[in-house]
């Protein structure tokens, strides 16, 4: 449905998007995850035809956005980071305006009535948008994005700045929409992606650093198992001991606490359970365990591991080059 090939966007000398390629199949809900400034919004803006790419291709349903902008734009509903609302219009007028703008062929009254119902805007449809709360404005934005029943819906940080109740509502709504639309959702909140998306694309520094099925996100990106332990004792010696346990492939100190304890992040081979040997080793040394959990990888952790890996890889490449030169 959506196909992006070697997309590049340069602002001056800076790469906002640097050679991104990915594909989204029909009916998928894909999460676009990354820290602020990673290039999420830029990529989405290119996909929707708001910006042009420096090079590369973005195609929707086989049509290039630059070559067939009119057809492609009809297929996409877009909710930008800041919902594009005309404050001097009522919700219904606004939806009618978008209906006209997108030259919809559906039955106007029925279609807009249905959208108001789906997005739960009943009762506010005749209020001015400027008098609506942030949650309702966001809903109005979503309503606007689905006018004309576009095949692809793109949401850029749709739950930004909402309260927890509204966030849950909006997430449920997006999930609902995902049943019969292809959805791309950009966010920097991992739990959001986990609760809504089938697949996740992690973008950092203008590059895609991971492409995963959401269920796999708890595993490390190499299929390693992760464990987070808080232990009371000297962190350096503990770390050294941990690394000696068979099956541990990676270990580092996460944080050091004021009470003298530290948290450790471990990775072990998927088939090995290191909890027991870890316990015996710590007991032998009288280092009490204060907490232990399998972390649902936090975005930070995922990031650190993914970005670390990319950097490591580049270092290796550079070393090799250096070696050849010698």
């Amino acid at each position: 449905m959506i196909k992006v090939e070697h997309l590049v966007k340069k602002y001056g000398e800076r790469y906002a998007v640097n050679d991104i390629s990915f594909e989204v199949r029909k009916g998928e809900i894909v999460g676009f995850l990354g820290p602020n400034g990673a290039g999420k919004t830029t990529t989405l803006n290119i996909l929707t035809g708001y910006l042009s790419s420096t090079s590369g291709k973005a195609m929707i349903d086989g049509l290039d956005i630059l070559e067939h902008p009119m057809e492609v734009k009809k297929k996409i509903g877009f909710l930008p980071e800041q919902p594009p609302l005309y404050l001097d219009m009522t919700v219904r007028e606004y939806l009618n305006f978008i209906y006209d703008l997108r030259k919809c062929k559906l039955n106007r009254k029925e279609h807009i009535g249905e959208i108001i119902k789906v997005v739960k805007l009943e009762g506010t449809e005749n209020r001015m948008i400027k008098n609506l709360s942030k949650g309702y404005r966001q809903r109005t934005g979503i309503a606007g994005a689905i006018v004309g029943n576009p095949e692809v819906i793109i949401f850029d940080e749709p739950t930004n700045g909402l309260d927890p109740k509204q966030i849950i509502d909006i997430r449920n709504l997006i999930k609902e929409l995902g049943k019969d639309h292809t959805v791309i959702l950009s966010t920097h909140i991992l739990s959001e992606v986990k609760s809504i998306c089938d697949r996740i694309l992690i973008i950092n520094d203008g590059k895609i650093v991971a492409d995963q099925i959401t269920g796999d996100i708890n595993k490390d990106f190499h299929g390693n198992k992760r464990l987070s332990v808080r232990i009371d004792g000297p962190s350096a010696s503990i770390l050294a001991e941990i690394k000696r346990i068979p099956g541990v492939v990676y270990a580092r100190v996460g944080a050091e606490y004021a009470d003298g304890s530290s948290s450790f992040l471990l990775e072990s081979k998927n088939e090995v359970d290191i909890r027991k040997p870890l316990f015996y080793m710590l007991a032998k040394n009288s280092w009490p365990i204060l907490a232990m959990e399998f972390p649902g990888a936090s975005l930070e952790d995922v990031f650190i591991s993914v970005v670390d890996d990319t950097e490591k890889l580049e270092n290796v490449k550079n070393d090799k080059k250096g070696g050849n030169r010698k």
Binding site: Y50, S52, P80, Y86, D88, F97, I98, D100, L101
Partner: protein, 236 residues
Amino acid sequence: MIAIYKREMRSYFTSPIGYIFVALFMAVSAWFFMSYTLQAGESSNFGTYFQMILVLFIAILPLLTMKLMSEERKLKTEQLILTGPVTLAGLVMAKFLAAFSVFAGAFLLSSFIYYIPLTLYGNPSPVIYFCCVFAVLLGGAAFIAMGVFVSALTENQFISAFGTMAMIVPFLFASSLNSYINNELVRTILSGISITARYTSFAAGIFDWAALLYYVSLCGIFLFLTVRVLEKRRWA
């Protein structure tokens, strides 16, 4: 394009701006008409009146154009329109036509009303009168095109309004500078860009095709530049 035109027209009259424009225009033009035509006892000489109207538009046309593009950009609604199936040219044209409709509506209405006392108490030439009306319409259209262009350059409505005024002034007063300049080339250029110089032939009752072409191309150039500005922003 029609959707944007309709929205723009609606927004003029759901906000005070449309009413302020029409009220200001009606009040000041009535006062000009009184003092330059009626009280002067020159029922058949309305050239000065229309020339004053053209000057008046420096002050009040930016009211109509200042928010056209700049507000869309500020509210980010630009993103809605530009990601919708609308061409940039269609967008710019719709905005231009909306502002032009309000301006033309108010101006034509006043022109027809003022024609009544002229015919009742005097003997005006309808040809000259409506040639003047036509010339002012064209001049106004050119000013609006400039306003659309300037409003695409900024997010700030004040800058947009004052920028438009600053842009119109040289076009309007270029020819009055002529008498101070002794260089033939500069004078040719100045009268070449002057809107007033074109206006005089209409005021004499001559339908000047060259002038028509001048006004239309002035509109065309500025609307084209607006499209280019929007286009460039996508690629920047």
